[in-house]
Amino acid sequence: MPILEVENLSISFNQYTAGLRRKNIQVISSLHVTLEAGEILAVVGASGSGKSLLAHAILGILPDNALVSGTIKYNGEVLNASTQASLRGKEIALIPQSTNYLDPLMRVGNQVRTSVKTGDATVAQRAVFKRLHLQQSVEKMYPFQLSGGMARRTLLSTAIVSDAKVIIADEPTPGLDPVVMKEALNNFREFADNGCAVMLITHDIESALTIADKIAVFYAGTTVEVAPVEDFTGNGESLRHPYSKALWRALPQNDFIPIPGSQPHPSALPTGCLFAPRCTMATPACSEKQPDMQNIRDGMVRCMHAT
C-alpha cells in the first residue's frame, strides 16, 4: 500500500489584478501522485509550475487564501487539517530550498534541535551534525554565516532528526557544486534505502534520473505522466506522454531540441488538455476536455493518444 496518495488535488488562489477586478488563479489542477515506502519519486517540471505548492498542500501549510480540493491519504487514512497538523514534522518532513527557510535570528543548532520530537535534542543534533560532517562550531552560527554546502546539510539534518517516514525535498540541489550535489542525492538514496519515502521536487531532470525510482512529470499544475525511471531511455519511445518525450529529447545529451512555445500561465489555462496548444499530436478532441489519468504499461498518463 502506498504510504502517501494524492488524488485529484486542485489548488487555486483568489487574487486582485489591476483596478477592481478579482480573479481566480488555478495553480494545481486534478493532480495525482503516489509515494511508496523505500522509493524515491521525483516530481519534475519547469520552474514556476507550482511544484512547491504540492509540498505545502501535503503538509497543510498553504496560505489562507488558497482554495484546495481533492484528497490526500497517509497510510490509507484521509487527511484533514488537524491530522495534517499532527503529522507535520513528525511523520512527514520538509527539506526546503535555501537558508531563507531558517530563522535569521536563531542559531542553527537550536533550529535543528526544535525538530527533535523524542529524546535529548542536543545529543541528537550533535550526532546528526557529525554524521553529515558538520563541525560542532556550526551549531553556534546564524543562517547568514553558512556556506551553501553547510546550509544544505543543516536543512537536511532537520529532516533526519525528526525521524519522519516521508521526506519531501523541495528543490534541494540548485546552486550546488557537483560534488556537494552528488552527496546530497546520495543522502536521499540513503533515506529511501532505510525505508523512508522520498519525494524529490526538482526542475533538474538529469540529477533526478540518477537516483529516483519513479519520475512524475509535472506540467502547468498537474502530473501528465508517472513513469518508472527505466523508461527514460533511447529516444523516449517507452514514455507515454508527448510532453515527457519532448522533455527527454530536449536534454543536451539527447537531441537537444527545445519544445516550441511556453507553459500557459495559471490564470489562462486552456480548457482541454493543458499541453494541447504545444502538442504535435493534438486533435480537436484534445481541446474539448482534459483527459483523465489512465494506467498504461506500469505507469500513469494523462493523454488520450497515449499507448
Partner: protein
C-alpha cells in the same frame, strides 16, 4: 577581535557624532536667525507689562545689556561661544539661567515621558502581537479600529476628555499643576507628584500605543508569512510556541528601535499634555517661551529637544548594531 570590534564601533559613533554636529550647528544658526527676525520685541518681552514706565534711555541700556545693538552675526557668535561654554543665557520669563530651568524641568518631563514611553511600548507591543496572531478575527478588527482611531485623535483633546472624566466628574485627580499650589517645594511628597503624573502619563500612553501596535502587527504578519515561519510550521510548530521561538525575536528588535526613534513624537505629545495638565515640564516651558517671546529659553529648548531626539535615534542605531547577529557577527568574521 574585540579590539577591532571596539574600533569599528568607535568609527560608527564618530561618523554619527559628526553628522549630529553639522545638524546641530545648522539648527542653532537657523533657529537663531529665525528668532532674531521675529516681530516680537525682545525688550518688550523682557520688561513685560512695565513697558510704559520705561524711557528710551533705559531701553537702550537694556539693549546694550543683552547685546541687542550689535549686528546679527556678532550676536550669533557671542551666543554661540557662550553656548559652547555651557551658558544658554538667562530666561526672560523666569529671570534665571536657561540651563538651570531646562535641567529642573527635564527631570519632571523625564518622569512623565519614561512612564508614558514604557506603558505605550509594552501595551502597544502586546496589542500588535495579539492582533497579528489573531489576524482577521474580531480581536484584530477591534485593535486595528482602536489604533486607527487613536492615530487620528488630537492628543490635547484626549487630555481634555481625561480631565472631564477623571478630574471633574469623578474627582479622583487634581485639575492642574505638577505640585499642589501653595506648598513649599520641599514639602511636596512623592505621592503628590505621582498623583499629578497619572493623567498626563495615561493620556500620552493611550495615544502612543497606536504607532507601536500597528507597526508590530504589520511586522509580525510579515514574519508569519516568511519562509522561515513556513518551514517552522512544516516542522510541526504552531500557536504560541511558534510565536515564542520565531515571532518574538524577529519582532521585538524593530519594535524597540521604533520606540527609541519616536522620541520626537513623545516630546511633541509631552508639550501638549503638560500644557493641558499644567505639568511643569519642558513642554510647558516651550509653550510659555513661545507665547511670551522668551528667546533664550526657546533657543535652549530647541537645542535640547534636538539632543533628545538624537539620543533616541542613536540608541536605536546602537541597539541594532549590538543585538542583530547579522550586523554583530559579520563584523567578527
Amino acid at each position: 577581535m574585540r579590539k577591532m570590534l571596539l574600533g569599528k564601533l568607535g568609527i560608527f559613533l564618530l561618523l554619527k557624532g559628526l553628522r549630529m554636529l553639522t545638524l546641530l550647528i545648522a539648527i542653532c544658526f537657523i533657529s537663531f536667525l529665525l528668532v532674531k527676525n521675529s516681530p516680537i520685541d525682545p525688550i518688550q518681552a523682557y520688561i513685560g507689562a512695565d513697558m510704559l514706565k520705561v524711557g528710551p534711555e533705559q531701553r537702550e541700556k537694556i539693549a546694550e545689556y543683552w547685546g541687542l545693538d550689535q549686528p546679527v552675526m556678532v550676536q550669533f557668535l557671542n551666543w554661540g561661544s557662550a553656548l559652547l561654554a555651557g551658558d544658554l543665557g538667562t530666561s526672560m520669563i523666569f529671570r534665571r539661567p536657561v540651563a538651570e530651568i531646562i535641567g529642573e524641568r527635564f527631570v519632571n518631563s523625564l518622569v512623565l515621558m519614561i512612564t508614558a514611553w514604557v506603558l505605550s511600548g509594552v501595551i502597544g507591543f502586546v496589542m500588535g502581537v495579539l492582533s497579528a496572531m489573531k489576524k482577521d478575527t474580531w480581536i484584530d478588527r477591534l485593535i486595528k479600529w482602536y489604533c486607527y482611531t487613536l492615530a487620528s485623535t488630537p492628543t490635547f483633546w484626549m487630555g481634555l476628555l481625561m480631565l472631564i472624566v477623571f478630574a471633574v466628574w469623578l474627582g479622583w485627580f487634581p485639575i492642574g499643576l505638577g505640585v499642589p499650589a501653595g506648598v513649599l517645594a520641599a514639602d511636596v511628597t512623592i505621592a503628590d507628584r505621582i498623583e499629578h503624573l497619572i493623567l498626563p502619563a495615561i493620556t500620552l500612553s493611550i495615544i502612543g500605543v497606536a504607532n507601536v501596535a500597528l507597526h508590530t502587527r504589520q511586522k509580525l504578519i510579515d514574519v508569519l508569512a516568511s519562509d522561515y515561519v513556513l518551514f517552522a510550521r512544516a516542522r510541526g510548530e504552531r500557536g504560541f510556541i511558534l510565536f515564542w521561538r520565531h515571532g518574538l525575536r524577529n519582532v521585538a528588535l524593530p519594535a524597540i528601535t521604533l520606540q527609541f526613534a519616536a522620541f520626537g513624537e513623545l516630546f511633541g505629545g509631552a508639550v501638549l499634555a503638560e500644557q493641558i495638565f499644567s505639568y511643569p515640564g519642558l513642554g510647558q516651558a516651550t509653550v510659555e517661551a513661545g507665547l511670551r517671546g522668551d528667546v533664550p529659553l526657546l533657543l535652549g529648548l530647541v537645542i535640547f529637544s534636538t539632543f533628545f531626539v538624537f539620543a533616541g535615534n542613536l540608541i536605536a542605531d546602537l541597539i541594532y548594531y549590538a543585538v542583530d547577529p547579522r550586523t554583530r557577527e559579520s563584523r567578527m568574521i
